[in-house]
Structure formats: C-alpha cells, structure tokens
C-alpha cells in the first residue's frame, strides 16, 4: 500500500477556522477542533448546531468555504478519492436502494472495498438477519440505522464518522451499538460521533467537543466537563408555571455564589453552590412564595446541565 506510515502525533482530524454558509445563514462559524487517533470523540450540540455540516465537510461532500480541514493528513475535498477508501461513513438517514435487502446492500458495500470484514458475523452482531428479504424502504428506523452502521465499518476503515448513530434505536440496539463502537476503538479505529444524547457522549467519548451555533464552546473529557463547573446541580420542578419575577427573586435569596437558570415555565436549574444548605433555602423560598414544588432534587452535574450552563438552553431532541 502506498499510504505513508502515519506519525503518532498526526491527528485523525484537524479542523482550523472552518466556516460554512448556506445562503446568508452561517452553519459553521470559525470552528477549530482536533480528533486524536484511536479515540472516540463526540461532537455534541443541539439540532442545527453545525454538526452534520462539519462531518460532511470532513467526508469531502462539501468544500470548506474558509479555514482548513485535514482528515488522516489529507484534504478531504481535493484528495477525496484517496481518503474515501480509508474512512467509514454512517449517514444520518438513508443510504440504500429502496428495494434492496439489508444483507444484500451490506455485501454490495463490502464488494467496493479491498479487504472487507466477513459479512455473516457482522450481520449477526447487528441483528440484521431479522431483516430477511424485507426491502429497505420497509425496514424500521432502527434496522436502517443498524444497516447504516454495518456499512460504515464493513470496509475496515481507519476512521469512522457516525452521525447520530442511535437515533431511533430501541435500548437493546443502542447498547449493541455502543459495545460495537467500543470494540472498534479497542482495535485501533478512530471514531467521530455526533450526537445530541448526553448519555451516549458520557458513556462512549474520550473527548467531547460541545458545539453551538457553529462554534466550539467547550472541549474536554466528560469528567472534566461535568466537574469544572461545580459538581452538582439542583433541579426544581413546580406544578404551576412560575410567576415571571420568580427566577430573579430566587437568585436574590441564594446570593451570588449560586446561579439560577430557568429551563422552562415550570422548571429551573441551580448550579454553583448547589448543596444541602441551598436546597433548604430553595425549599423555604417556595413556601414563602406559595410555589408548590413537584420535585426538588440535588444531583450530580450531567453533560446536559453543562450544556445548559454553556448555552442557556437545552439540547432538545
């Protein structure tokens, strides 16, 4: 093979100042990030944050409008034909003939590669056998997702881009998918994963890049991200919508060491000094203001809370 041996220091993906626009809408706004080889790296962000656009630029579908993108040391747009055999791609949706059977489609993608994985174990592993002779268009969303994942790994790539891999999967299939991604990493495959599921990023990722409005707003391991902003949060959910001045009033009660953020009309999140004392103060405030708590919980910070603190809004589904 003519590929030069990759130096250990060379990143799997290196994005520097990427800008992508659709018309006058900016999808990616000066994004810079790095993906180290042999890791699972999650790109986390709400819908419309620019995740898919970024991935599709790395896959060479789109040309970087500004900034540079290197994937396995190659320019994904100019050197696409060199890059494609070395990467695996799982599209967010679709990716087969409407009338094709799952196993047939997988065999076809395998036939385009030089040293594909054996088909049967992969079919069994991802439960694609159950698809039988059903044409692609009549497979369930979860089955289509699993086929998409199988197609991404069958060519034995060095680097896999998986776009929202478990969207629409049942819990068992999600677990299978996670285990598969972990095995890929153990065998030296680099995985770049986009998701808006926090538990997915927490479970799998060595490194999380949080993106919002096309910009990188935080990077770190799930542990670093959840610990760097105070270790706990208090969540207050009430039965009737808050009066409009409630968050400000609660903030005054708690003082500047805690931070109150409304989540919606009936719930809010308190971070910073989130401990038993604060919990008691919140409880007292509720009583004083005739607010009836439905739940008041003190818990560990999750990535979701971190995201909320960073962006001021939830990830949504």
């Amino acid at each position: 093979m003519s590929t030069p041996p990759a130096s250990a220091a060379e990143a799997a993906v290196e994005i520097d100042g990427l800008v992508m626009r659709y018309g006058d809408k900016v999808a990616v706004d000066g994004l810079s990030l790095r993906v180290e080889r042999g890791t699972i790296t999650a790109v986390l962000g709400p819908n419309g944050a620019g995740k898919t656009t970024t991935l599709e630029t790395c896959e060479g579908f789109r040309k970087a409008q500004a900034g540079t993108v290197r994937v396995l040391g190659l320019d994904p747009h100019r050197q696409r034909q060199q890059l494609l055999p070395r990467i695996g791609v799982m599209l967010q949706a679709g990716g087969a003939w409407s009338g094709v059977r799952a196993e047939e489609m997988l065999r076809h993608i395998a036939a385009l590669h030089a040293h594909p994985l054996p088909i049967e174990p992969l079919v069994e592993r991802l439960g694609l056998g159950e698809c039988g002779r059903t044409p692609y268009r009549r497979l369930s969303g979860g089955q289509q997702q699993r086929l998409g994942l199988a197609m991404a790994v069958v060519g034995r790539p060095e680097l896999c881009f998986v776009d929202e891999p478990t969207a629409g999967m049942d819990p068992a299939a999600r677990r299978t998918t996670w285990e598969l991604l972990e095995e890929l990493r153990a065998d030296g495959v680099t995985i770049v994963l986009t998701t808006h599921y926090m538990d997915e990023a927490e479970r799998l990722a060595d490194l999380v890049h949080v993106i919002d409005h096309g910009r990188l707003i935080a990077s770190g391991s799930p542990f670093e991200l959840t610990r760097s902003r105070g270790s706990a949060t208090i969540r207050l959910v009430v039965t009737d919508p808050f009066p409009p001045e409630a968050p400000a009033s609660l903030q005054r009660t708690l003082g500047p060491t805690a931070e109150v953020r409304p989540l919606n009309e009936q719930s809010l999140l308190i971070s910073g000094d989130a401990d038993a004392t604060t919990l008691a103060k919140v409880s007292a405030w509720c009583e004083e203001h005739n607010v009836l708590p439905e739940s008041l919980t003190l818990g560990q910070n999750t990535l979701e809370d971190v995201f909320l603190q960073l962006t001021g809004r939830g990830l949504g589904a």
Binding site: G95, A96, A111, H113, R137, M151, E183, G188
Partner: protein, 258 residues
C-alpha cells in the same frame, strides 16, 4: 467477535470489480421490480403480439407485413422504456433513499457509478432485445437490411439510449421521486400512443411531418429504416443527436446527488 476483528485494513477494490458489482446490483434490482419488468418486457411484447394479430385481422394496408412494421418500433419502445422511464424512476428513488449519497461516501468513484449504470442499462436492453426478437421471429418476422441493417440498428439503439438516458436523468433531477415516477410513466404512455415510436409516422395523417422532431419518432424511424432497407435515416439520427446533446446538458445542470 474477538479482539482484532476490526483492526483497520482499508482499501478500495479494483475499479473493474467495483463496476461489475455495481452493474450486477443495478441489473438485479431492475429485474426484481415488477413494475419495471412490466415496462421493460411485458408491455413491448404485448404491443408486438397484439398489434400483429390485430393488423392481420383488420387486413390493414401497410407497406410491409404487420410484424415487419411493428418489430423495429417495439424494439425502439423497449429502448425508451429502459433508458428513459426505468432510469428516471430508479434515479429519483436512489436519491430519495440516500443511495447516491451513500455511494458517494464509498470508494466507488463517479465514473464507476456511471459505468455500472450504463452496463446495467445495456444488459437489460440486451435481454429485452432477445425476448422481443424471439417473439417476432415466432410471428414470422423477416428482418430486411441484412448485416448492415443490424449494425445501423444497434448504433441507433445506442444513440437512442444516450438520448433518453440524458432526458431521464434530467427529469429525475428536476422533480421529486414520486413526481418523477408519475411523469416518466405518463410521458412513456403518451409517446407510445402518439409519439411515432411503435407505428410509422405515415399512420398519423397530418401529424407525420411535425412528429419527426420527437426523439421517440426519430428512434422508431431509425430502427425501421435500418431493419427494412439496411440504411441509416440521416434525419432521424440528427434529431436523436440534437436531443442527446439537449438531454446531456439538461441532466448535468439539473442532476443532484442528494
């Protein structure tokens, strides 16, 4: 699966193997699809058999035997059904289901995809020609024009394939998958009935002249002239060529991968 199962071993299969896989898959899916098969084989054969028997019974005053009149026209119809209707519909749904994008992320280069598609089209057309010619011979077809006629007919069919494939891809590029399905079938039906493809233009009365500008009539004329007299119909070839250029231009402007 054990440790080391997924150890990277990337690489593209040789291009000829990719093209073969692509052509085999496209042919298989085309032949598996009932509607496409109806369009590709059943309708042309019905037109041939039904038309021949009806013309014999009605004792129409044609310049040639009914089966000699109809066979070139039905061959032309078969070319149009595969290169235009089937291709347009298949391409529409390939885009709709993300297949084109999926292949765009695989090692298969564009030229490989194109070669695979062309090969699949030609394979299906070969199959159609074998079936139609066998039925026609059974009905007493005696192709005129000899070897030269056959060569000219094959050239006309190839040019017609280019023409209709370009128009089909342009249609699939311009419309959504469902709209492509409807439009491609409708255009096929209209051209089959009134497009001078199955029946010679002189059976259309006053429309004989204007009809020759249609690609359907041009392909029919070219095949009839070849298989009757062993000649190339220059006007028909020219008309097909103009439509081929137009179709290719439109297709490359309108075609979208996703």
């Amino acid at each position: 699966m054990s440790q080391g199962t997924f150890t990277p071993a990337p690489g593209a299969a040789p291009l000829h193997r990719q093209v073969r896989a692509q052509a085999a898959m496209e042919t298989k899916l085309l032949l598996r699809n009932g509607e496409q098969l109806l369009l590709a084989v059943v309708i042309p054969v019905l037109a041939l058999v039904g038309g021949t028997l009806a013309a014999r019974r009605l004792d129409l005053d044609l310049a040639h035997e009914p089966v000699d009149v109809l066979t070139p026209g039905v061959l032309a119809l078969a070319v149009m059904s595969t290169a235009f209707t089937s291709l347009a519909i298949a391409t529409g749904f390939e885009r709709r289901y993300g297949l084109l994008k999926r292949l765009g992320a695989s090692p298969l280069p564009r030229i490989g995809l194109l070669l695979g598609k062309v090969l699949a089209l030609l394979l299906v057309q070969l199959l159609q020609a074998v079936v139609i010619c066998a039925v026609a011979l059974g009905l007493g077809w005696r192709p005129g024009g000899g070897v030269l006629g056959a060569v000219v007919a094959v050239l006309a069919a190839l040019l017609g394939t280019c023409t209709f494939a370009g128009l089909g891809l342009a249609l699939a590029g311009a419309l959504r998958a469902e709209a492509t399905l409807a439009a491609a079938n409708l255009i096929y039906l209209l051209l089959m009935m009134g497009g001078g493809i199955v029946l010679p233009r002189d059976t259309y009365g006053a429309a004989e002249g204007p009809l020759q500008l249609l690609p359907s009539a041009a392909l029919g004329d070219a095949l009839r002239t070849a298989l009757w007299d062993g000649r190339a119909d220059a006007v028909a070839f020219l008309v097909l060529l103009v439509w081929a250029v137009l179709g290719a231009g439109l297709a490359s402007r309108l075609f979208k991968w996703e």
